[in-house]
């Protein structure tokens, strides 16, 4: 079967379930008694198994299958949850993630799964050797449960015509070499005397040897049970056959039950008379199939992100067109036209907002990775760390979400590795043993703020300064001029790391400078506040969306440029008299601070700029780290929301230019990013 067209769907589903597994395992670790969590894990593993087997990803199918076996035992409480098993399950999950990645990159084959399979099987096979009656009983229950309504119909017909329903629990000898062949022979023998209704595992899995030593068969036959058992035992390598004759009533009860149970998954949890009766009949039996447990699940549609991009572009066109029409209508001055145009404007804005919303994804997608990260980090560093998440519903543009994960991982690593102290150290300092790393996200205006706070030892400006001098980033004299905050900001320099010892947690070559660069590339800003002994707070400010940004339009000569307002510290008006020359550089005083002034026309090579002739100069002040730089322009035009367009690969990386946008009159204006110039 050609399954490539389903690959995307499969991968989406796969990611979802991996996410659920990850979260549920973390929950399970905290609350090992909670059977519901275990059920959730089992369901996800089961779904993954089915999906991956259908897609032909056998490695993933095998691993999930082995996981399912262990989880099944845990669920039946034949195996006790202990940290070792949890770790094993986490390892298996990591392997699944690696496989998922491998599948997308087309190198699934290279990933080794045997180790994990063996470790998983060690657990799942142990108890089976001492197969207790309870165990097989339970299995048989499962066998009954799995009859579909149609099969039940068939069974009851066969029973009415004089057949019996037997459940056969067959065990092969441990040293059996051709398990698949033996199982096949048994199935063939049985087919000659009756109808096989169901096997666990499936007949296909039996043939492929995807079972341990035991399998179960549901058989309808007119022959007496003794004869059937004898028939099976004739096959070589059969160790033991347990048989049970199932009464018609049991099946019929189930037949009645099956209907409300199926309904349950679609209609919410209304207690029907039928299901109440069912509970009386079999109080211990939990329905194993309902999938929708969360509240209010609305139907959703998966859409290729590129389609949304196209839609966004079309809307942008429409917005531009709208302003052209507005322009025309204001020239024509017809009231009816103006009203229509106004209505059109409102519609376009609504439309744009809605499309923007469809691109928004809650930050939970990123945050949900971190509990696991913090757990592993804490274990690796022998620290006790609690992760607190808030604001997980905050939404950001999909593109920002995709990019923000790595910088956050790095910051969190830093917090756990460098920030949080060892438990003993914390106690000595009068703090609780367990350190806290808190992530928060919230929206303000057109930005989203993400903060990462730890209550660790904080950053010591003196130590950072000393290290910077030692590494030759800064001279000792220059260091003395820096404020404490500026010293802390030194960690953003490329190649800077204060870790005294190289741990396997941080110090992997990605420094804070990479974090800063990434966030800058997203049009964001990162800053640090730290109080020695009390902790550190990283604050990241990101634009809500990358597609539409608020800009300040400026004019220089005949040219118009857009500057994202998020880059702008403030705009000021400077009188010519207040400009001084300091070391060949024009400077001015801004509330006691000396800021250099840059004539933008020189930097951008613009002809005919007028500002050198003006007495009052409009200056846009940029903030780069703690430094401010003023850029002199001819005039400030207006604030305007613009759609960012790429200049394309041909003009790719021109320093100072972040992209382009199309103005109301159809002309192109470039978007300036002068933070690095400043």
């Amino acid at each position: 079967m050609d399954t490539s067209q389903y690959l995307n769907v499969f991968m989406d589903e796969c990611q979802e379930h991996l996410q659920i597994l990850n979260q549920s395992l973390l929950d399970l670790e905290k609350d090992p008694e909670n059977i519901d969590i275990l059920h959730a894990i089992f369901r996800s593993a089961h779904t993954l198994k089915g999906a991956s087997a259908t897609m032909g990803f056998n490695k993933m199918a095998n691993v999930t299958h082995a996981m399912e076996d262990v989880l099944g035992l845990l669920r039946k409480q034949e195996l006790q949850i202990n940290p070792e098993i949890i770790n094993l399950l986490f390892d298996a999950l990591d392997l699944l993630e690696a496989l998922a990645k491998g599948i997308t990159e087309g190198r699934e084959e290279d990933i080794e799964v045997a180790g994990i399979l063996q470790r998983l099987k060690k657990y799942s096979q142990q108890p089976e050797e001492k197969t207790t009656p309870a165990d097989s009983n339970d299995r048989r229950k499962k066998l009954q449960l799995r009859y579909t309504a149609e099969e039940k119909e068939n069974i009851s017909k066969l029973l009415e015509s004089g057949s019996f329903l037997y459940h056969l629990d067959i065990q092969l000898k441990k040293d059996c070499l051709l398990k698949g062949a033996r199982a096949f022979m048994i199935l063939r023998e049985l087919e000659s005397v009756g109808t096989i209704m169901r096997t666990i595992p499936t007949a296909k899995e039996l043939e492929d040897e995807q079972f341990d030593l035991e399998f179960i068969i549901g058989l309808c036959s007119k022959e007496p049970i003794e004869k059937i058992v004898k028939l099976i035992k004739r096959v070589t390598d059969v160790k033991e056959v347990k048989s049970e004759s199932v009464k018609a009533e049991e099946i019929l009860i189930e037949r009645r039950e099956s209907k409300p149970q199926e309904v349950q998954t679609t209609v919410a949890k209304t207690e029907t008379a039928g299901s109440a009766a069912q509970k009386k009949d079999e109080p211990a039996q939990k329905p194993s199939s309902p999938v929708h447990t969360g509240p209010n699940i609305y139907p959703t549609v998966r859409v290729d992100i590129r389609k949304l991009d196209t839609l966004m572009n079309l809307i942008a066109e429409l917005v531009i067109n709208r302003s052209q029409i507005e322009q025309l209508s204001s020239e024509i001055k017809d009231q009816r036209l103006e009203e229509t145009v106004e209505h059109l404007s409102r519609l376009t804005i609504d439309l744009r907002d809605q499309v923007l919303k469809t691109r928004m994804v809650s930050i939970d997608q990123v945050f949900s990775r971190f509990p696991r990260l913090v757990r592993d980090l804490a274990k690796g560093t022998q620290k006790e760390v609690e992760l607190q998440l808030s604001g997980v519903d905050t939404e950001l543009d999909r593109t920002v979400i995709d990019e923000i994960g790595d910088p956050l991982v790095h910051i969190i690593r830093n917090c756990v590795d460098h920030g949080i102290e060892k438990p003993e150290e914390r106690e000595a300092a009068g703090k609780p043993r367990t350190g806290v790393v808190a992530l928060d996200a919230y929206q303000t205006g057109n930005s989203v703020i993400i903060t990462v706070t730890d209550d660790g030892r904080g950053m010591d400006p003196e130590k950072i300064g000393a290290a910077a001098v030692e590494k030759g980033f800064i001279t000792k004299d220059a260091l003395d001029d820096l404020s404490d905050q500026e010293k802390i900001n030194l960690i953003f320099l490329p190649g800077f790391s204060t870790a005294k010892e190289v741990s396997d947690v941080s110090g992997r070559g990605v420094g804070m400078d990479a974090v800063k660069n990434k966030i800058s590339a997203l049009g964001g800003v990162v800053s640090i506040n730290s109080v020695p002994g009390e902790g550190t707070k990283f604050t990241i400010q990101l634009p809500l969306t990358l597609a539409i940004i608020q800009t300040l339009m400026i004019q220089l000569g005949e040219e118009v440029y857009a500057i994202p307002t998020s880059f702008v510290d403030q705009t000021i008006s400077v009188n010519r008299k207040d400009i001084k020359i300091l070391r060949h550089q024009e400077v001015t005083l801004l509330r006691g601070e000396v800021i250099p002034l840059l004539r933008l026309q020189d930097y951008l090579g613009i002809q005919g700029a007028r500002n050198s002739d003006l007495d009052e100069l409009d200056v846009v002040v940029f903030k780069s780290g703690e430094k401010r730089v003023g850029c002199v322009v001819d005039s400030l035009l207006r604030q305007q929301d613009v759609v960012i367009k790429s200049l394309g690969g041909f003009l790719g990386n021109i320093p100072g230019i972040a992209g382009a946008t199309i103005l109301g009159d159809g002309r192109v204006a470039l978007i300036l990013d002068l933070r690095d110039v400043a």
């Binding site: 690969g649 021109i654 192109v668």
Partner: protein, 160 residues
Amino acid sequence: MKKEEVREETTQLVVFKLGEEEFGVNILQVREIEKLDQGLTRVPKAPHFVEGVINLRGEIIPIVDLRKRFGLTLPPLGLDSRVIIVEVGEEAVGMLVDAVVEVLRVPLSAIEAAPSITKGVNSYYLAGVAKIEERLIVLLNLERALSPEEAEELSKAELG
């Protein structure tokens, strides 16, 4: 099979002029031909042969002046000048030319390798020349002609 032997294989060229000389690009690489009737937006710090960018129905297209690109000294663009929008890889780029002449079908056999300098253009930028009767049409290698790198450096690197 026989037909192929009889009918010679051909390719279609869009023929345009830089100054008085005729150049050609494969028609499959040409997306459209436009008049430059809107304002160009200059891009600071772009390569010297990039005139600027235009808005082509919502898409930002860089405009390359081929004359500057090839270092030809020619009079300013006249009324017949056009922008040929070509596709190079994933990118659309506009080429400013003095005039678009015609679409011409040429037999592949008429195309020869370009001499090292053809009509003042470094052969590094060229895919060959087509000789049709008395005409000599210079075929461009768009991947090279429209890459931001300079020919001198590149051809040196290739030779070295």
